[in-house]
């Protein structure tokens, strides 16, 4: 993980450990009447952090995740990811940025149903230019990292919910991204599996992977080293700033 970052000159020239930063980010959807999902959000993530962002539905969580993940651009404000100012990047460049620096974990897992766990994870590297052999090799390592070494050849539909989310986590990790964004990763899981996924995230974070977990569950967010509360498109509190 750190090797990737050090090798990246633009990140190094930023002269800090900041992986992602939002400066006065506002997002307005041009509906009638216009909806302001985010209102002047300042937020930054340093390398190696594990952050829970918590907020009720409609607080702007998903919008925040999309903007952090460069899937959407802010109406106003500045977003920097892995040293890149996304204002300077085209849509194509953003795709390349996501392929290289950002991993995603979704509530609905988003696995391809007819494919094996191994191929699903290998698809996490599909748009990086690596060949299939290398992708599968790295996918196998990632699956072992989430304790699914025994499920490599299992078709996604034959896996339990907890296992599917592990596969999704492995897919997010396989490209050694600078940051992993998880959108309600436990939302579709029972308590036991939910705890297991939270433990897995902690364990992987301990190995050096930067995580932002978005959740509506204060209990899950509160257990992470840093918690930010979101309400009505504003950061209500951020334990990272108090420290």
């Amino acid at each position: 993980m750190t090797a990737t970052m050090a090798a990246d000159p633009s990140a190094a020239s930023a002269g800090s450990d900041v992986v992602l930063s939002l400066r006065s980010v506002t997002k307005e959807y041009p509906t009638t009447p216009p909806v302001r999902a985010l209102r002047g959000v300042d937020f930054s993530v340093a390398r190696g952090e594990l952050i829970g962002v918590v907020g009720p539905s409609g607080s702007g969580k998903s919008t925040l995740l999309h903007i952090m993940g460069t899937l959407d651009r802010p109406t106003v404000g500045k977003v920097t990811v892995a040293g890149y100012d996304i204002d300077d990047l085209s849509d194509r460049d953003l795709s390349a940025l996501r392929a290289r620096y950002i991993g995603f974990v979704f509530q609905q897992f988003h696995l391809l149903s007819g494919y094996t766990a191994l191929d699903n994870v290998a698809d996490g590297l599909l748009y990086t230019g690596l060949n299939l052999r290398t992708r599968r090799h790295m996918a196998e390592q990632a699956l072992r990292r989430v304790d699914l070494g025994h499920r490599l050849g299992h078709v996604a539909t034959k896996l339990s919910g907890g296992e599917r989310q592990r596969v999704a986590v492995a897919r997010a990790l396989v490209g050694t991204p600078s940051i992993v964004l998880a959108d309600e990763p436990t939302g579709n899981l029972d308590t036991k599996n939910s705890d297991a996924i939270v433990d897995l995230i902690r364990q992987i974070n301990a190995e050096g992977v930067t995580f932002v977990v978005i959740t509506h569950n204060p209990e899950i967010a509160g257990a992470f080293p840093r918690t930010a509360g979101l309400r009505d498109g504003r950061i209500e509190y951020d334990t990272g700033l108090e420290r």
């Binding site: 633009s10 998903s62 999309h66 993940g69 899937l71 959407d72 890149y84 300077d88 990047l89 085209s90 849509d91 194509r92 460049d93 795709s95 390349a96 940025l97 996501r98 392929a99 290289r100 950002i102 995603f104 979704f106 609905q108 988003h110 391809l112 149903s113 007819g114 494919y115 698809d123 996490g124 599909l126 748009y127 990086t128 230019g129 060949n131 299939l132 897919r171």
Partner: protein, 401 residues
């Protein structure tokens, strides 16, 4: 900035393009098969039509080759205001003196009826005619004997007859035993042979053939040629055709009808071509409908797979990658359909040609054209859904999940 920032999206390896394009086929097999079937039927129809037309044409050409296109017939014209309706007795002799004429054979219609026995009422002639012929007739017409023998110099002067295929059937004679007799012109004639169908002169299929001498001696027939068959050097067919009428009847050349029986076969070929065009048109319509089917399935597929599109954008796919995936899927569907259609069309042609005893011939243009048409249809059908998929914003795609 964007060129120097080191963030160039990777190009997919062609194997990966194929892999992503086959995701939809892999996960929704029945639907993929059904939409490919539409294209398959269209292509099969076109390949089959072209194959059958080519095979039948080759058969027709082989037939023409076998029978020759150098056979000409001269007949006395009939109709209002046309002389006697007879050819001069010396016509055959005069025609044979034309340089490129290789062979002539005279046929003279005999005014007599044929019956199975003398108990058959007079009116039931069965439509069988009696023709007095030269013994070289079979050779001139490239005909063949089904059973027994043809007339030769000896049998041509005795009360013996050879039957055309239809005449034999109507008289109830299937095999020639040498003892069967027919009641011909109030006399018993022995049947010595039955002929196969004449491909160029179907009229003779309904005739009982007797020798010229027989007709004079036994039937009191005055030999006046009703038609003369002429084999000509193939290089001079047109030249001979031009002078034939005047040679056959110098006094009244306008009373002579000159025909080339192989023209009828060629006309049949032309008629077949017209049908081929019609069926090709129907095949094209089927193909178009198949294309609409693929477009329909692709549009639905894009709607259903929004979350997959969102995921792929999140994993780093560019719009181009997404468009390529769906366009590739449409092409793959149509290629499968096209290949299946060529195979099916080939099989249908093979079976039908086999039944008809033809050689199976599929023109290469049908195979190449079939697959190319399928791919073209697939590309057109897949373009709009692919563009729609690519234009979908990643956030919208993920939200809809």
């Amino acid at each position: 900035m964007s060129r120097s920032n080191g963030l160039e999206p990777s190009r997919l390896h062609s194997a990966d393009v194929l892999r992503t394009a086959s995701v939809g086929l892999h996960t929704r097999r029945l639907r993929a098969a059904l939409s490919a079937l539409g294209i398959m039927i269209g292509i099969a129809a076109m390949v089959g039509v072209l194959g059958l037309s080519e095979s039948s044409k080759s058969d027709l050409l082989a037939q023409l080759d076998r029978l020759g296109t150098n056979l000409l017939t001269v007949q006395a014209g009939t109709g209002i205001g046309i002389g006697t309706g007879e050819l001069p007795t010396e016509a055959a002799g005069m025609i044979s003196r034309i340089g490129p004429v290789e062979q002539t054979s005279t046929i003279s219609a005999v005014d007599a009826n044929v019956y199975k026995s003398d108990y058959i009422p007079e009116g039931q002639t069965g439509g069988i005619t009696v023709q007095a012929i030269d013994v070289n007739l079979l050779d001139t017409l490239a005909g063949t004997v089904a059973d027994g023998k043809f007339l030769d110099e000896a049998t041509a002067s005795y009360p013996t007859a050879v039957l055309g295929s239809v005449a034999a059937e109507r008289l109830g004679i299937r095999e020639v035993t040498g003892t069967q007799q027919i009641w011909l012109g109030d006399q018993w004639f022995t049947v010595i042979g039955v002929l196969d169908e004449f491909e160029l002169n179907p009229d003779l299929d309904r005739a009982a053939l007797v020798g010229m001498a027989t007709s004079e001696d036994y039937l009191h027939h005055e030999v006046i040629p009703s038609s003369i068959l002429i084999r000509v050097d193939p290089n001079y067919v047109d030249d001979v055709t031009g002078v034939l009428a005047a040679t056959a009847n110098p006094q009244n050349p306008e009373e002579v009808e000159v025909a080339r029986p192989s023209d009828a076969l060629e006309a049949k070929e032309a008629a077949d071509d017209a049908f081929t065009a019609l069926f090709l048109g129907l095949g094209a319509v089927a193909l178009l409908v198949g294309g609409v089917g693929i477009a329909n399935v692709m549009v639905i597929s894009v709607l259903e797979r929004r979350s997959e599109i969102g995921l792929r954008r999140a994993l780093g796919a560019t719009k181009r990658h997404v468009a390529l995936q769906f366009l590739g899927e449409a092409l793959l569907l149509s290629a499968v359909g096209g290949a299946g259609g060529v195979a099916l069309g080939w099989a249908v042609t093979g079976v039908y040609a086999n039944v008809r005893g033809w050689d199976t011939l599929i023109p290469p243009v049908a195979i190449i054209g079939g697959v190319a048409a399928a791919l073209l249809i697939g590309a057109v059908a897949g373009l709009y859904p692919a563009i729609r998929a690519a234009r979908l914003s990643p956030t919208e795609a993920l939200r809809s999940a």
